[in-house]
Symmetry: C2
Subunit: 934 residues, 2 copies
């Protein structure tokens, strides 16, 4: 035991050479880093460096790299002295650039300390502002700004943030003190906030310097009482403590939860940005704001954002005060506004993407604090990408890379039936933060949202404002509705990212979270009542409203002409660009003609998996299937099969037609036969009831007979039982019937001019002899059928590779198989030893304990199942270099998995019809990206 872990430690030390640079400076028009160093500097640090180099007005500062975060964890929460010295040197450099000194009583340097990983995690990480203030420096700040109220407000904000984030004192402790002071300082005249129409509270801005001094004193007392130490006065000590707190925040439960949802690995760590403070709250000539170069909800080309006069940046994002639209800045501070528009336009051009920026105006001087690619809805992504190509800002190739494949599903999400929607009165209107139609039962807490959604209820999470702790509740909700906050508030940002409809800042909502009600326009809505809202218009209605297919789906279903749908045109434009870049073929998993038609309309060119047994569930077919299963003799079984033959043939014919001649892979019967029979335990209970009631006669006898057969077919582990090729081998007459149906249907479409090549796929093969047995049956029946039909067609016989033994012996199987299709659902089951139907019992615990990063049934486990797939490809192609290989598990529609399948050299992926657009786009992005791993 100790041996192995000692080894690990030695290794990790070895991988962080002392000579490496750990701190990167930016300021004075020059930065050590640049935008391409996100891994090391995080997104924020890389952006600050890039902006600095571009000559933009960025407050100077430095970035402590993500590597230091990892060292911090590996060295058990310690930072080596060498790195500490490197940081100290950069503090001196920053003091020089800022013309101010940490802790100075004349001109104190104040800094912000911010986290910033490679991927943006909005609101997930803790930030500390105004660091450097102490009892001396606050006087220096007052002296320099001539604004005592501002100086002490800054100090109390610092103590509050530092106390909460670094010293882990609950926020309530500070809020309690602030309330006490506010109560004592209730102002003469109250004024109303721009939207808030509820109870009038005392605002921070109502407090004067004396009151702020009192707050500071009370805060310091609170800190001492809670942390057993006085509030630290040494700015260098403050900085060290803050830095470590940022590192610690990387592993707080919110951050972990966020990374789990967005598949961000834990090991990449966060950087720490230390930057000279600038103040949007020095008075009415100051302001702070955030914005986007285009509308992130609709994609519309408009300058988009919000600002607050006399406020610090956190006030906008936190959504506590409802800010003003950014257009109003033009009146308030015309010069700064023009400079901002100019800079952001340059930024968009420079980065060739929509920018999400933060700025502060201190005494009418503009500072840029951050820029990054703006998160957007799927809808906006498509609009922006196509617009930017039209504007010749980017190439079609760049446009394809600008759209997140997964976000396309948002465009296919249902909307309201507009006729019904229009008739219902609008209860209120909020800010349309994320498009889509949401209808569900009101809940007021994330916990209740999770609980009810697990019971299958559609829920809408209604909150005054959301906080990062709400993530899991938002994840399960149909939509999110908040009363405060703007379009860049937490609720807005997160819901857009999740592709969930949201309406925020619906200020007329009077929410009683405790009492679990809200009232609006005189009506009271209780927990559990239905409401609906439209995330594109911001309208909220108190009613349950039926939804309807999205516009794109209406085009696909031909209820709307494609020419009249702008968004469909854009959607198809992106996808057809994508098609020119991808190498992977895209097929669909479709079992019936109507599914095949939708898949074709979405761009699938071929069916990768047609599950013949799904046809057995068609109307009136189950009794025939049951007769087949219950047959005691081969002759009786054949009789039932003869009845199924024309039905299957018609289905195949329909699927083939829907595919216009593209290849269709038909899988012979796969599931264990007892899936088609009544459940064993239900029969047992029925019989017990009849017996106990003293009944006799035909019904009981029939049930007993049925139970007898069901018992014979019963399996302890049906997933590992008598299914797949094992059925075909024991009942070759089933394979015969299915082959006949496929070939007859194919001959018919051939006669009609579609030269389809059906691919007959034998499932669950683990040994070449299994395939050889079934191939002989297929070839014999196909020859007979073609002769009878007087048509000769080409067809292929291949196999699903879905049991590990099939992979290990793939070289032998490829001597018979003309194609492989990886069945990654079963392969995942057997590689992990996880039953897909039972994994729910422990999967959540596995994810909580970080044993599994993600559900391996949703996104392929590259390390394990992926290695198996790679082996199967290599062995199969060793025997047959031109072997056609695809994948037809659920992973075919998951972008990360598609990327892997591209890398590993498959010929195509097959996805469910509605995921076909996602797969097309993901395949294009995979082809453009550098191949990762071997």
């Amino acid at each position: 035991m100790p041996k192995a872990s000692a080894k690990r430690k030695t290794k990790s030390r070895a991988s962080s050479p002392k000579s490496r640079k750990h701190v990167y400076f930016f300021g004075g028009g020059k930065a050590d880093g640049n935008r391409f160093m996100k891994d090391l500097l995080g997104g924020k640090g890389a952006g600050l460096a890039e902006m600095t180099n571009a000559g933009l007005p960025v407050p100077p500062g430095f970035t402590i790299t993500t590597e230091v975060c990892n060292i911090y964890y590996k060295e058990q929460s310690k930072i080596p002295a060498g790195i500490d010295r490197e940081i100290a040197e950069h503090i001196r450099k920053l003091e020089k650039a800022a013309g101010a000194t940490l802790g100075s009583t004349d001109n104190p340097l104040l800094v912000s300390v911010r986290s910033g990983g490679k991927f943006s995690m909005p609101g997930m990480m803790d930030t500390i502002l105004n660091l450097g203030l102490n009892d001396d420096a606050v006087e220096g700040l007052k002296r320099r700004t001539g604004n005592g109220r501002f100086a002490f407000d800054s100090y109390r904000r610092f103590i509050q943030m530092f106390g909460n984030v670094v010293l882990e004192i609950p926020k309530e402790a500070f809020e309690h003190e602030l309330s006490a002071v506010k109560k004592a300082h209730r102002p003469q005249e109250a004024h109303r906030g721009p939207i808030a129409e509820g109870f009038r509270e005392v605002l921070d801005t109502d407090l004067d310097e004396a009151a702020m001094r009192e707050v500071v004193d009370r805060y310091k007392t609170a800190v001492k009482a809670r942390s057993k130490h006085p509030f630290p006065q040494d700015p260098n000590e403050q900085l060290r403590m803050a830095r470590n707190a940022v590192f610690r925040s990387w592993m707080n439960p919110r951050a972990i939860e966020y990374r789990r949802i967005y598949d961000i690995p834990d090991h990449i760590g966060t950087a720490v940005n230390v930057q000279m403070m600038v103040f949007g709250n020095t008075g009415d000539r100051s302001a702070t704001g955030v914005g986007f170069t285009r509308n992130p909800a609709t994609g519309k080309k408009e300058f988009y954002g919000e600002f607050l006069i006399n406020a610090q940046g956190e006030d906008v994002v936190a959504g506590i005060r409802t800010p003003q639209p950014i257009g109003e800045l033009e009146q308030a501070m015309p010069k700064a506004y023009r400079q901002l528009r100019n800079i952001t336009t340059r930024l968009e051009r420079h980065y060739r993407d929509v920018q999400d920026f933060e700025f502060t105006i201190q005494d009418e001087r503009l500072f840029m604090l951050q820029t990054r690619s703006g998160k957007r809805t799927g809808y906006a992504a498509v609009v922006i990408a196509t617009d930017m190509v039209a504007e010749k800002l980017i190439t079609p190739k760049e446009a394809v890379l600008l759209v997140d494949p997964e976000s396309l599903t948002q465009l296919l999400a249902p909307g309201f039936d507009q006729d019904q929607w229009r008739k219902i009165p609008t209860a209120t209107r909020g800010l349309p933060a994320s498009p889509g139609a949401a209808s569900g039962q009101v809940v007021f807490s994330a916990e209740r949202a999770v609980e009810w959604s697990q019971q299958g209820k559609p829920v809408i999470l209604v909150r005054r404002e959301t906080v990062p702790d709400d993530i899991h509740g938002m994840f399960v909700s149909q939509g999110i509705l908040t009363a405060t906050g703007g379009l860049t508030s937490h609720a807005a940002v997160v819901s857009r990212q999740m592709g969930k409809p949201s309406v925020v800042g619906a200020g007329s909502l009077d929410i009683d979270e405790e009492g679990r009600t809200f009232s609006v326009g005189g009506r009271t809505v209780k927990e559990g009542d239905f409401i609906s809202f439209d995330g594109l218009t911001g309208e909220v209605k108190i009613a349950r409203v039926a939804s309807m297919p999205s516009e794109i789906l209406q085009v696909v279903n031909k209820t709307v002409a494609s020419a009249t749908s702008e968004i469909y045109q854009r959607f198809e434009r992106i996808l057809s660009w994508a098609d020119t870049f991808r190498r992977l073929g895209i097929r669909a998993n479709a079992d019936l003609p109507d599914q095949a038609a939708i898949a074709y309309a979405f761009g699938a060119r071929g069916i990768g998996l047609c599950r013949t047994e799904h046809m057995f569930f068609g109307e009136g077919r189950i009794p025939i299937v049951q007769r087949m299963i219950l047959a005691e003799t081969e002759a009786d079984r054949r009789k039932a099969l003869d009845e199924l033959l024309p039905l299957q043939r018609e289905d195949f014919y329909g699927v083939f037609k829907a595919m216009h001649g593209d290849a269709v892979t038909v899988r012979t019967i796969d599931p264990p036969l007892h899936e088609f029979l009544p459940k064993r335990e239900e029969l047992m209970v029925d019989i017990a009831r009849l017996e106990t009631a003293g009944k006799t006669g035909a019904v009981l006898d029939e049930k007993r007979r049925l139970l007898h057969r069901v018992e014979q077919l019963h399996e302890f582990n049906p997933m590992l039982g008598h299914r797949g090729v094992r059925l075909g081998i024991t009942y070759p007459e089933i394979t015969e019937m299915q082959t006949r149906a496929v070939i007859e249907a194919a001959c018919r479409v051939h006669k009609e001019g579609f030269h389809i090549v059906p691919e007959i796929m034998i499932p669950l093969v683990g040994d070449v002899k299994e395939l050889r047995d079934q191939k002989a049956v297929v070839d014999r029946v196909a020859a007979e059928t073609m002769k009878a039909q007087g048509v000769t067609i080409k067809y292929l016989v291949g196999t699903m590779i879905e049991v590990p033994r099939g992979v290990v012996t793939a070289d032998k199987i490829a001597t018979e198989a003309e194609f492989f299709s990886f069945g990654t659902n079963d392969l995942t089951q057997m590689t992990f030893g996880f039953s897909r139907d039972d994994v729910g019992k422990f999967l959540r615990i596995y994810q909580d304990k970080k044993i599994l990063d993600k559900d391996p049934f949703a996104s392929i486990d590259i390390e394990g199942v992926g290695a198996i797939v790679r082996m199967g490809v290599q062995l199969g192609r060793k025997t047959r270099p031109d072997l056609k290989i695809g994948i037809c598990g659920e992973h075919g529609g998951d972008p990360a998995s598609v990327h892997f399948f591209h890398d590993v050299g498959l010929d195509y992926v097959s996805a469910s019809p509605y995921r076909v657009p996602v797969a097309r786009l993901a395949a294009a992005q995979a082809a453009m990206s550098v191949k990762v791993g071997d």
Copy 2:
């Protein structure tokens, strides 16, 4: 389709170069081949060559190689002309050596045509004698021998064999004709056979030349009627047809069945031996016989065998006439007898093994027809091997190689309780052909034997004589009893090989196979009645008799002193020799102290698998376990675990003590928890009955409560569900309790002076993080426990490698695991996707269709599962070159699997206690043999 098979064909042609020799001659003191060419010449051909080279009197002939058999199958039942020419040349050579000519009317050459593969398959393959006879040659034979009756008897035998084997005319057709002639020739005076006491039949020897001529005419007519062609008169044509029939017989159902039982591959093919006929049936100066250089049933050093005066070899083996003991040959033909003893003694010395030989005496001249290693019982094998070492005939190393590991299990098979046995009167006594005690219900056909044994009935197959078609019935029987035939009859040879008790030639049995009864000594025994017999004494009794442990088991159980048991002494001598040669360690799978004690006595040094959950089934424990499972809170669960702790600790203590300080691998809880609860469907039925009967109250409520929890735990595929490490991760308190019990018990035995190193094994690990999680629990609890006990002991934490993902990521798992143990049961399940509990539904069909050669749960599937094991070993040792690796699936006691595990470089195998001797011996043989494959 056609592409792939065309490829295969091309390849196979390429691998049989025309230049290769296909026919090997022997005769005149010189042979082309030798004993080491069994692959090419088969066992018989290699033996004939070797004997010829040794100067023994062997009739000349030639061997067509096994390669030709494969060519025959690959070329769709054709032999290339080149090979045909090569055979023709050798016929000429043989005519020269024999001084006779095929088809000659003066001195015709007669040959036998016999099959002979690498492995002996007694009675499985068809043989043709007297080939070369036709209407002309038969007159030549009469002329040369002066014996018309003999000449025509030979001719009619030839027609009968050729007609049956080559032309596939049913035997009955010939028997019908023979009976007709016999009826017409009923002799004046009947004499009684030596043993046969029943109805007196007309014997073949009663027929004179005229009668035989009539038989020949009738046979020829029958052949023409059945085959639509006259009986072929051209001897070269006869030979070609016979040769091809031998090749065809390789694939007859009997031969396939035999190979399936004995794991002989299909692809090795059979050779064909064409040899000059010698005749044991030319009169009273001729004889034929078979024998062993030592007793193959008991191992006693005695000249052993039987002969028949004036008979052909087939008459002895077929068991139609009961032959004389070979000792009587000394009186009958003293010179030939001395020569035979002299030759066979030389043969045993030459081959350094017991020889099974066939000879014919033609007119007092001895010919050796075959010699090969004699099959023997496990008992005899041990006696012979130890005797031969004592005689300095062989070395201990050779002795170890002389015993089939599997056959050792025969020595552990139970015998009768001698007290009870002695009190029952003996109904009859037959020849003791294969030792062991058999008791069961009488059946008269192989089909009924199979049917009843599938119903769980113990059966004894009673037959007048067994035939190769009976193999499957013999396989399932407790023992075999026949009325005719000698110690080398089919029944005797096959039963010895199977390790089944048998008594043969019990002539006083009057068997009515049709009426399903036999009578003996005035009593009638019907199908289904119980009988018992002792295969070592030949006694048969009409009663059901309880069996008792074998002598060796009595020594192991210390009810008999080892010093007084000769067979135990020999058994242990062989095994201790084996121990000096093997590299693999041998452990046992044992869950409780008494099992561990037996395993230790059998030579296991260490426990490779102690299944802790088996301890849960101990008396009074299930209710505690159920309380643990049903607990709603961790606190309640801990309470139940606290009760289990002392019980598990005591069991571990007992197991550790039984192992005298050798390592014990304890596996933490593995099976899904619902295995310990009442069955779901039973509860449902109970509730349905109570409800239907209108019952209410506590019983119903309790059942509903229980059902609720059982439903929560219910799984669709428990084998792939919440079990193994997944339980430990979700309920770490179980791992804690089990660790505490192991470490407390280990501390206690340490205090008593046994420095055991317990190995705590986490099952079902597929990802290193699972192991890391559990290892942390184990290490923490172990440290706490050792501190509390005041003892520091060494222990290891490792894992079972049993899910494919564990193999694929074995390099990562080895960073934490201090040992691996392959769980090949689960690994086989998941690699094939076969549920062990359900595979019975199709395994038989798979074996019948030759898709699987053998049950992969009985003997490891080297191609698939083996490849996976090899990968796991390589990856694990890449990380940790000294990683201790074992295997603890059922395969640990299977010789072929042990061989593979040796090859792949494991450190030990762990077998069930009673298979430990098999594993010891198999491991030694593996170490001595050349490593096969990479």
